[in-house]
């Protein structure tokens, strides 16, 4: 069921060091430095505390500064004097100090920094826990986190040695990479001479592949994330899952033996696996019968605890599955998936469009509707003007007029656009092909690509063979390729790019793809001359997702790793999914 790694697969580096580092720093900061004894969450409502000193641990955002300013000023009005300490993580920004100054409390607070950037969520997953990265960079064009990314990479290279092979695509990837290199050059000496532990690093911007992130997830971990939302590697299972009246917070990582075996599985396999597991468990319990006293003593002292633990986890995941099933059947999941697949493959566009329209009309879910609209727009290189207007009108009528701003955001980010009249992809292609005979063709195509940032999904899909040809039923139990994470209908674009580049050890031969991704200048390879890297380290690959990655992508690459004898390590600004992306783009009434 769960696929074992090839015997020659390399060991993962030990990331628990990062966790210890973060924990020790935090404890030192809060307990030793500031003697914090009670923790509150920074929320919109004022904190009620009678203590003499307030200590804020915040992201450097203007919103947070105003929250603090309001609190301090309220204290001042009430004639209260306390000490205030603001700890910025990962760093202090000048703008924040400015705000404190403008609010007239700069003298009342003292500031500190906590340079924390990497949280290991799992043995192969590091998160920077910066969900705001996506909106900040891809919508607002704010580059503040690039420095943080560069610092994080620098930290990794000091801890785990230099990376001999670097690849990347996207503007943010390039900037982060260059900044990181600068940091390394400034502080050289430290990493020099160290044996690299991780052979490759791949940086990828989220806007290279929105499609994958917008699809409904059907591997177990992704589905759990879509349904219950995994936060910082743990999930809150409500009463409907725990089959009691309490909700339960559960850590989801490789230490959960049951979860570890099903996390990367297509959902259709999970039930079968769980029931098999339950039967095995029962059989183990049943062994008690016919035991003598001594055996029983052994059983109780050694095995029972493990079995009970497993039992508990098993029933939790079975509960989660049932809950997912219930929700999905209610939402007409089959129909939804069918539409998504049609969009990915590019047939029955009209039908899909009316499906989306109905989705909106029935007010199923504002975020879901938006997601489908974006998926339609990206796969089709923008909506045709008539649909663009009518879908938006419908949407505004259903979900409120403030979404006019949401649409403006989505357009800016290139997620929901309008085709220029008569400018479908085929039209462009025919134009270009006509020009090929012309000598100026090269120039003109360049001009074309710079005209508008088009997604070119269809062309890329064809080039990279993202839609597998199906002969007969796709066997989800024994997947053939990464497409299994989307029921065999689509190979995630981001993962395919990574696969292709790793195979070639460069971008060579992928020029056309790079051009279609609008990244002619932004794809880079950097092989260092050091050949100290062991063959084992060369099969360890760090993939950096700038703007977030989904669990489906993680599962797909884990699958690829098992097939090819690699191990992938993931570094993401945050784990994301379609709903989070859409929420980041949405305007809501405050």
């Amino acid at each position: 069921m769960a696929f074992p790694h090839r015997p020659d697969a390399p060991e993962l580096p030990d990331f628990s060091m990062l966790k210890r580092l973060a924990r020790d720093q935090l404890i030192y900061l809060l307990e030793q430095q500031h003697e914090v004894d009670k923790l509150y969450k920074v929320e919109s409502k004022p904190a009620v505390s009678s203590s003499e000193q307030l200590c804020f641990l915040v992201r450097p955002r203007i919103k947070n500064m105003r929250y603090i300013a309001n609190l301090v000023n309220a204290d001042k009005l009430a004639g209260r004097t306390r000490k205030y300490k603001v700890i910025f993580s990962p760093q202090k920004f000048y703008a924040c100090e400015m705000v404190l100054e403008e609010e007239g409390i700069y003298g009342d607070v003292s500031c500190d920094e906590w340079a924390f950037s990497l949280l290991p969520l799992d043995v192969d997953l590091l998160s920077m826990e910066l969900p705001e990265f996506f909106r900040d960079y891809f919508l607002e064009g704010d580059q503040r986190w690039i420095n943080t990314v560069a610092q994080a990479l620098h930290l990794l290279s000091t801890l785990y040695g230099p990376f001999p092979n670097c690849y990347g695509i996207g503007r943010c990837a390039k900037m982060s990479y260059e900044l990181w290199r600068k940091l390394e050059d400034e502080e050289d000496g430290e990493t020099k001479g160290r044996r690299p532990e991780i052979g490759h690093i791949f940086l990828l911007d989220r806007d290279m592949d929105f499609v994958t992130a917008l699809c409904s997830q059907v591997v177990y971990e992704g589905l759990v994330d879509d349904t219950f939302r995994i936060k910082c590697g743990s999930v809150d299972f409500g009463p409907e899952v725990t089959s009691s009246d309490k909700s339960l917070k559960v850590l989801l990582n490789a230490e959960d033996k049951v979860f570890n075996e099903i996390r990367n599985e297509h959902f259709s396999n999970v039930f079968g696996f769980l029931s098999q597991k339950a039967r095995n468990l029962q059989a183990q319990y049943d062994r008690r019968r016919g035991m003598d006293i001594k055996q029983m003593k052994n059983f109780v002292s050694q095995e029972l605890k493990g079995l009970k633990q497993e039992h508990r986890l098993l029933s939790l995941h079975i509960g989660a599955c049932e809950s997912i099933m219930k929700k999905k059947t209610k939402q007409d999941f089959q129909e939804l998936i069918k539409t998504e697949h049609a969009l990915l493959e590019g047939f029955n566009i009209r039908e899909s469009t009316s499906y989306i329209e109905e989705h909106i009309d029935r007010q199923v879910s504002p975020i879901e509707s938006l997601r489908l609209m974006c998926l339609l727009s990206i796969t089709e290189n923008g909506l045709i003007p008539k649909d663009y207007r009518s879908l938006k009108t419908q949407y505004l009528q259903s979900y409120g007029p403030e979404h006019l701003l949401t649409f403006s955001n989505l357009r800016r980010a290139g997620l929901l656009t309008e085709q220029a009249p008569g400018d479908t992809l085929t039209a462009v292609e025919s134009k270009v092909s006509k020009l090929v005979t012309d000598k100026a063709a090269g120039k003109i195509t360049d001009a074309f690509s710079s005209l508008a940032k088009r997604s070119n999904f269809r062309a890329i899909s064809k080039k990279l063979n993202l839609i597998p040809r199906v002969d007969g039923e796709y066997d989800l139990k024994v997947p053939r390729d990464m497409a299994y994470v989307f029921s065999g209908a689509y190979v995630p674009l981001s993962c395919r790019i990574i696969e292709q580049v790793l195979e070639r050890r460069s971008w060579q031969g992928l020029d056309e793809v790079v051009r279609l991704l609008n990244c002619s200048e932004l794809a880079f390879t950097d092989m260092t001359r050091e050949d100290k890297a062991s063959s084992e380290s060369l099969r360890l690959i760090l993939v950096v997702f700038l703007g977030g990655c989904t669990f489906s992508e993680i599962s797909a690459l884990r699958f690829l790793g098992r097939e090819k004898g690699y191990r992938f390590i993931f570094l993401t600004t945050a784990v994301t999914n379609s709903a989070r992306l859409m929420e980041a783009m949405s305007e809501v009434k405050a």
Partner: protein, 772 residues
Amino acid sequence: MDCYTANWNPLGDSAFYRKYELYSMDWDLKEELRDCLVAAAPYGGPIALLRNPWRKEKAASVRPVLEIYSASGMPLASLLWKSGPVVSLGWSAEEELLCVQEDGVVLVYGLHGDFRRHFSMGNEVLQNRVLDARIFHTEFGSGVAILTGAHRFTLSANVGDLKLRRMPEVPGLQSAPSCWTTLCQDRVAHILLAVGPDLYLLDHAACSSVTPPGLAPGVSSFLQMAVSFTYRHLALFTDTGYIWMGTTSLKEKLCEFNCNIRAPPKQMVWCSRPRSKERAVVVAWERRLMVVGDAPESIQFVLDEDSYLVPELDGVRIFSRSTHEFLHEVPVASEEIFKIASMAPGALLLEAQKEYEKESQKADEYLREIQELGQLTQAVQQCIEAAGHEHRPDMQKSLLRAASFGKCFLDRFPPDSFVRMCQDLRVLNAVRDYHIGIPLTYSQYKQLTIQVLLDRLVLRRLYPLAIQICEYLRLPEVQGVSRILAHWACYKVQQKDVSDEDVARAINQKLGDTPGVSYSDIAARAYGCGRTELAIKLLEYEPRSGEQVPLLLKMKRSKLALSKAIESGDTDLVFTVLLHLKNELNRGDFFMTLRNQPMALSLYRQFCKYQELETLKDLYNQDDNHQELGSFHIRASYAAEERIEGRVAALQTAADAFYKAKNEFAAKATEDQMRLLRLQRRLEDELGGRFLDLSLHDTVTTLILGGHNKRAEQLARDFRIPDKRLWWLKLTALADLEDWEELEKFSKSKKSPIGYLVRQGPSLHPIPPSGE
């Protein structure tokens, strides 16, 4: 070899003193030393001379000349003294020349006669004038002590961090003390002074009378006192020609000596070294030099010329018009090896090596002798150590050769002491060179450390030598070569006669991209010298754009700073520059600047979104960005405005902006919203309940749920709600109401545009039982 110990003079039984020449001086002095104020810095430092015209009444009209020489007599600086009368000169630990004027002002000059700064020793000093002054060294740096005309003392223990202390009064002091000195004990500076037969110790709080133990009777006055280099020992010279030597704490007497010369000595200094066998004092009169210690006899030298003594860590330097000599106690290793008829292992090894060179079999005999005693290791060590204390390179070589010869017969002799000594001696010989003129001994060098020596070379602008030393000793670049190059560059930018281009190019050629060199520091120096253009040129070479920004801002090149900040990718830096620009430029220019820098613009917009909404609007206006302006007003319509009129007005402005942006769709949608908003308001007034801010769909649903079917129909018509939606809406709402009758009526009224999905659709709430 026979005469090698010819200049050794025994003092008592245990110690020898030797005096050898460091340099013959050809500094071409116009004046006699005795007519000058003289100051020589320790550790082979420079010598400053200022002919003292203020002492005698004559020739006060001629301006004196301040001259600075290296220890070998090479002129470093010469300048006309234009300030007031000087009482005393002295060198600080950083080799800065402190000139104490009569009015209590201390002028500080660099090694090359460049004026650095000045400070005053306070009002009291100014009023009473300076009678005498001393510059002394403490753990914290260099101090100044002043005796004023009112016979009071003022001192500062560290001129770098000036804190003046006025010492307590000495009771009954009517005239100047016959002699005085500063002491440093337990990190506190004291003053010891002699008035007639009495000694007083002044500290911050009190004045106490002290008596040296075992002082010979009959003393009516102290003529001279001397404190050792390390402040541990004190020597007193009385009017009876008697010298008392003891500890500074005045608790213990070391020895005494009666020289029977009653004339006051010109100078008296200690001549000892760390772990000295003998503690001796050197006393100088006009024509006589005497070394006295714990021995009945003293060593006497005749001085041909007017001389000056400089106490050092391990000896005394003596310079005159023609020579510069060093007098010290012969170190143990040298003594053992060179003493006549010495049988010390080192001496035998040296002999063995010499015989070996002569190809004599005696070499073997000597060697055997040492080996039989098992002292070969010791012999090698002795030779290495003795080499360090030799001044003449040929002696150093022969000792090192002996050590190297001995090493061959040892199995495991760690080579580093030998190698290090060779390296150290090369460095020492290099800096002792006549042209450099830093006559450091090995012990002084070790005390000073290589870092300080490099600093001193840099201070003398001997950059190439400093770099060679760094490279030779393989010092890490950041501490060594880079640092020196950076100093060189900082010096280079001060050369005003060279054009900016040439200086920048020269600096870049030399420095290249040496790690650890900060071009921005050099540029800052250039800017400090008023060479802004040069500073900008230099900043071009700075690889870290982040480093360029603060200086550019300081130089008021904010626009350049902005583009550099953007280059650096550090948004925080960009923001710093932005706020600078905002204050510096008028609004129009500021916006224009932003317009050309999209990254800065988006950053500033972010800031405005939270802090300065009005500015944000202005920004959009300025750019004719009607689309964003429309969005801005839309947001205002529900975030900023509360009254319905205000909201509608905001929407109207938004719609206008959208029209201007040719975004018909958004304009229409906005107008619809205006209508809806007004309508919702009316509904609230007429029907009660909440309608405001519902979406159109929800408004209609609410109407149906409230039983206002007519109104709902009307609304749907007014806003052209498509049939499909209306059907969904009605069915859902009626089903929610469980109004099956109305539902049936509705379903029969027209043909359903959504087919029969309702019945199959599992998502619809309760399926109407009669709907079949």
